[in-house]
């Protein structure tokens, strides 16, 4: 591309030279010039008049007011004419008279006129008619020259140049938008800073009265107190403010997380008596997902079980965060924790949700009756897989039989999870399922089955593994098989290596016996 630039410049220069043309060459004679001028009609500051010698003068001309003759030495001068289109007709009338060119009112000759027109041509104020009558090519050149406009009409040019107006409008819009956006962000940041400052100030106003009332009043006393009495402990002018209440809720929730026993009861009582529960209810009914989730978190943290019917409405929400929080709240607060909301879940259960539910389930399962087996009937595969995981994580050996019901119709991910659960629970009696999957066509299922067989397989597993070892050439699978065989029957493993002591098998053995690579 860079190499082409000189060529491009040369091309441009050529066009420039080719298009340059002087008026000297264009007007070959005075007649050509007069012909062009007559077509121009008027040329700025260029006029003409006639000198009528005494010898040709007639009384008719002297009497004519149109000519406005003035006596000069040896004859008369006509008035000056601006309209060159009249030149020919006048010349035919004054056939023997001399025409005189006037430039700025002063007589000049043919060369003087040409020089003047050249100047006008260079500035774009004069364009010979012959140029206009040439080809399109010249028209383009002609179009390059802008039409002369006196300074005093500049204002109208600005108004009527639509392109320029468009540019200015777009530029202005852009500027306004840019400034508007920046201004909005600056205001946003300022407001946020102000809000943060307010939060800090409110927090200071809250913490002292709150801790005083918690430590000086018993739960019964708090229950007997009227809401108005409780509200009085906070600054009266601040309490109605939404931000103050928001900080108050956060502070109460924060304390509730840290405290135990009666204090939790006191905080919950305060939460209700201060009408903060109404804010929670309002949040739960909001159309914005973030408000609903905030409400659900408040219900969960403050154990507001009276709001559970409202919470249940959100368990199948199309918003991930809403249904996750609703599920977590239900698990935490409902008396039965029967997991029925999960069973009927339309949406796939993500690992994130499973992680949160597992944490709660681990916490509540010693006290609440969990109906995990109900989840095996769920039409949602991810829910069934979660149920299988729960069996392993909670050590529910009693549910192994229930899992078996799933086996005939289990999908690949379910099979992997069942195998993993058998491994975790040490379910030796399920070797039939394990062995059947050692030869699975799905590589991931097969790998998991081989791994599990090594830990809880039986003699049949050993046979299948040896058979597979003979058949497969996949190094990854072979290494896994050897590892499992080593765990199942180390003697048989060593004898196999001795019998098949090729470099690859020896290398694999080296890895499997290397203490640095155990449990890899």
């Amino acid at each position: 591309m860079l190499k082409k630039i000189p060529a491009l410049l040369a091309l441009i220069l050529f066009f420039q030279i080719a298009s340059a043309q002087s008026l000297d060459t264009l007007f070959q004679s005075k007649e050509d010039l007069l012909l062009d001028l007559s077509k121009q009609k008027e040329v700025n500051s260029l006029e003409f008049q006639f000198f009528l010698p005494d010898s040709i003068l007639s009384q008719k001309w002297i009497d004519s007011s149109d000519l406005n003759l003035q006596a000069v030495n040896g004859g008369f001068l006509t008035k000056t004419f601006e309209d060159w289109s009249k030149y020919d007709s006048l010349q035919s009338v004054f056939s023997q008279a001399n025409s005189i060119f006037l430039l700025y009112g002063e007589p000049t000759n043919y060369e003087g006129v040409i020089s003047y027109l050249n100047t006008l041509y260079a500035t774009g104020d004069f364009l010979p008619v012959s140029f206009q009558e040439q080809s399109n090519e010249s028209l383009i050149l002609a179009a390059v020259k802008s039409i002369y406009e006196p300074y005093d009409t500049l204002s109208s040019w600005l108004v009527f140049d639509w392109k320029l107006i468009w540019v200015l409008v777009i530029l202005s819009l852009f500027l306004i938008l840019a400034l508007g956006l920046i201004l909005a962000l600056v205001i946003f940041k300022a407001r946020r800073n102000q809000r943060e400052e307010l939060r800090k100030a409110y927090d200071k106003d809250i913490i002292d009265p709150l801790t005083t009332i918690l430590f000086t009043n018993s739960l019964e006393e708090l229950k007997e107190m009227k809401p108005e009495e409780l509200k009085e402990i906070f600054p009266a002018q601040l309490f109605p403010k939404p931000l103050f209440k928001e900080v108050l809720i956060e502070r109460i929730i924060g304390l509730n997380k840290k405290m135990k026993g009666e204090f939790k009861g006191k905080l919950k009582e305060l939460y209700k008596k201060l009408d903060l529960i109404k804010i929670t209810e309002k949040n739960l009914k909001s159309k914005k997902w973030s408000y609903v989730t905030t409400g659900l978190v408040q219900v969960n943290e403050m154990d507001l079980s009276e709001l559970l019917p409202e919470v249940k409405k959100h368990t199948n929400s199309n918003n991930f965060h809403v249904r996750s929080s609703a599920g977590a709240t239900l698990l935490n607060l409902s008396q039965e924790a029967d997991l029925s909301f999960l069973k009927n879940q339309d949406y796939p259960l993500s690992d994130w949700q499973q992680m949160n539910y597992l944490r709660i389930i681990k916490y509540v399962h010693p006290t609440k009756k969990l109906m995990i087996h109900e989840l095996f009937q769920s039409p949602n595969e991810s829910v069934r897989i979660f149920a299988i995981k729960l069996v392993a994580f909670l050590g529910r050996f009693d549910l192994i039989e229930q899992i078996k019901i799933l086996v005939p119709s289990a999908q690949r991910n379910e099979k992997i999870e069942i195998l993993q659960t058998y491994l975790t629970l040490g379910a030796h009696m399920e070797s039939e399922f394990i062995n059947a999957n050692i030869t699975s066509e799905d590589e991931d299922v097969q790998k998991m089955a081989i791994k599990v067989a090594g830990k809880i397989g039986d003699e049949a597993s050993e046979k299948i593994l040896f058979q597979l070892l003979e058949e497969t050439s996949d190094r990854g699978i072979r290494l896994l098989i050897l590892e499992s065989l080593k765990e199942l029957n180390e003697v048989a493993f060593e004898s196999y290596i001795q019998e098949h002591s090729n470099p690859e098998n020896l290398q694999m053995r080296e890895q499997l016996v290397d203490p640095l690579l155990q449990n890899v």
Binding site: S19, I140, L164, V167, L185, K189, S350, M355, R475, L516
Partner: protein, 487 residues
């Protein structure tokens, strides 16, 4: 006739440049809006996320951190220690010594009591020969793997790490990056939130560590770099990570995840044959190939982005080094777009084919050429006397304002979202950089990009003839390796 054609071309180019200018303006305004929406949503969602559970949860995925090292003897031990100290339950650190000529390997062996193992290395993805796999006898370093291999470049080293990794998520990073202690927990969240769409990769934002205080592997005090080049990169990184990537993430159009800090699903990376070692843009190429693989199979997927400041890196403050880096980035972009030209303007690939690819082709790849062409066009207009100063300066002003707007927005964005640069002097310094960048730094960036094009055409740092034709499918990279191995 020639005269006519010349002026016709001038007119046509005039219209093209006008359309391009307004497209740039429109696109950047769109990017600003989309990124603002995405950032708002991200922050809202973050309010309800409890990251504590992930560290110990058995459901959380395992992560293999892959960090190639080449001649890193001075900092390698400290860097590995900070990686091993990350807060996460199930992870391993795989350091790949890519044929270092210095004492990198010995420093690692000494510091972490490493011993060569009998690991049976399997090249599921073809790599340069592996000389040894090291592990420590000390239980404190049980998470550490060190691979010693012959030099093959960053992509090749990462492939060796992928071959040896045992976890389901791959975290591909630069070994000299500083990671926040909670970086893994935050980066795995999008993978764990996956429901209907497979999350194939997660990109992270990179911060600039120059002139910052670092304690225990974390940036404790932010300061902007002292040099103008460094400050420029702060603005540029804010633009790229907080605006650009967030906007692309909004429409699921991300085509690039920084090679310094990116997380991937291992099974998918293996399915497409790992990194492509013959391109200098291996990070972008892998993302495009993964996306292409899933699009070709009609599998719903998502490439996510986490804008939290979790990874910091030192950026070049020397113009020559920065120029080389930009040159490499440009070549990487050209190579990737060329390899995957089947994707471009192809409705089968939806957002990737109709939005992301054309954007990268026109504005990222062709950007420097278009800018230089615009300059030449202006010079031609000046020469032929058809130059309108009013329109020209209006356009220049508009582009300048756009640059100011976008940069100022990204800095304010950082201030609102994270507020890392708290010092007012730092902010003033960044604002000065924003004002001067279009005049003094941007032209250099354009020239470096142009040099990247020239180097690509000249074959400097490029690849062989066969590959230039592009991959027919996303899996072609595997076939290519087979061909090169057998031939």
């Amino acid at each position: 006739m020639y005269n006519f054609l010349f002026y016709l071309l001038i007119d046509v180019f005039g219209v093209i440049f006008m359309i391009l200018s307004f497209s740039v303006v429109t696109l950047y305004l769109l990017i600003m809006i989309l990124s603002a929406l995405e950032m708002r949503d991200f922050r809202r969602k973050n309010r309800f996320a409890d990251y504590q559970d992930i560290i110990t949860s058995p459901i959380a995925p395992g992560v293999s951190i892959l960090a190639p090292a080449f001649n890193e003897e001075s900092n390698i031990v400290q860097n590995v220690k900070s990686l091993l100290a990350l807060h996460y339950g199930k992870f391993e650190v795989v350091i790949i010594n890519d044929g270092s000529k210095d004492q990198t390997l010995n420093r690692l062996i000494e510091a972490f009591e490493l011993k060569k193992t009998s690991f049976f290395y399997q090249s599921q993805i073809e790599t340069a020969p592996v000389r040894g796999v090291y592990r420590s006898e000390n239980k404190s370093f049980r998470r550490l793997w060190v691979i010693d291999k012959e030099n093959g470049g960053k992509a090749d080293a990462l492939n060796a790490g992928i071959n040896i990794s045992t976890m389901e998520i791959l975290a591909c990073i630069d070994v000299d990056c500083i990671l926040a202690s909670d970086s893994i927990t935050r980066m795995v969240r999008p993978f764990m939130e996956e429901t209907n769409k497979k999350v194939v990769a997660v990109g992270g934002a990179i911060g600039i560590a120059n002139n910052c205080d670092v304690k225990d592997g974390t940036v404790t005090k932010y300061r902007v770099p002292k040099s103008r080049i460094g400050k420029f990169q702060v603005v540029e990184y804010c633009r790229a990570f907080l605006m650009g990537r967030m906007a692309w993430s909004r429409i699921n159009g991300l085509m690039l995840i920084s090679g310094a800090f990116g997380f991937f699903k291992k099974d998918l990376v293996m399915a497409v044959g790992g990194y492509f070692p013959k391109t200098v843009g291996e990070d972008m190429e892998l993302v495009v190939r993964l996306r292409r693989y899933l699009e070709e199979r009609d599998i719903p997927y998502r490439v996510a982005f986490v804008p939290d400041p979790l990874c910091w890196t030192e950026v070049p403050e020397d113009e020559k080094v920065l120029g080389r880096q930009r040159n490499r980035w440009m070549r990487g972009t050209i190579e990737t777009l060329q390899l995957h030209n089947k994707v471009g303007y192809n409705s089968r690939f939806r957002v990737l084919g109709l939005v992301s690819y054309p954007f990268w082709s026109i504005f990222e790849k062709m950007g420097p050429i278009l800018e230089i062409s615009g300059l030449i066009y202006t010079l031609i207009l000046l020469l032929i006397g058809d130059f309108s100063a009013v329109y020209f300066f209006s356009l220049i002003l508009m582009i300048y304002f756009l640059s100011l707007l976008v940069s100022a927005f990204s800095i304010l964005y950082e201030q609102i979202a994270y507020n890392n640069y708290k010092d007012k002097n730092d902010l003033r310094s960044l604002i000065r950089t924003i004002l001067l960048e279009p005049l003094f730094i941007h032209p250099k960036v354009v020239l470096w990009g142009l040099k990247g094009h020239i180097d690509f055409i000249a074959g400097r740092g490029g690849w062989g003839k066969m590959i230039r034709a592009g991959f027919k499918t996303a899996e072609d990279r595997k076939n290519l390796d087979t061909q090169s191995t057998t031939s």
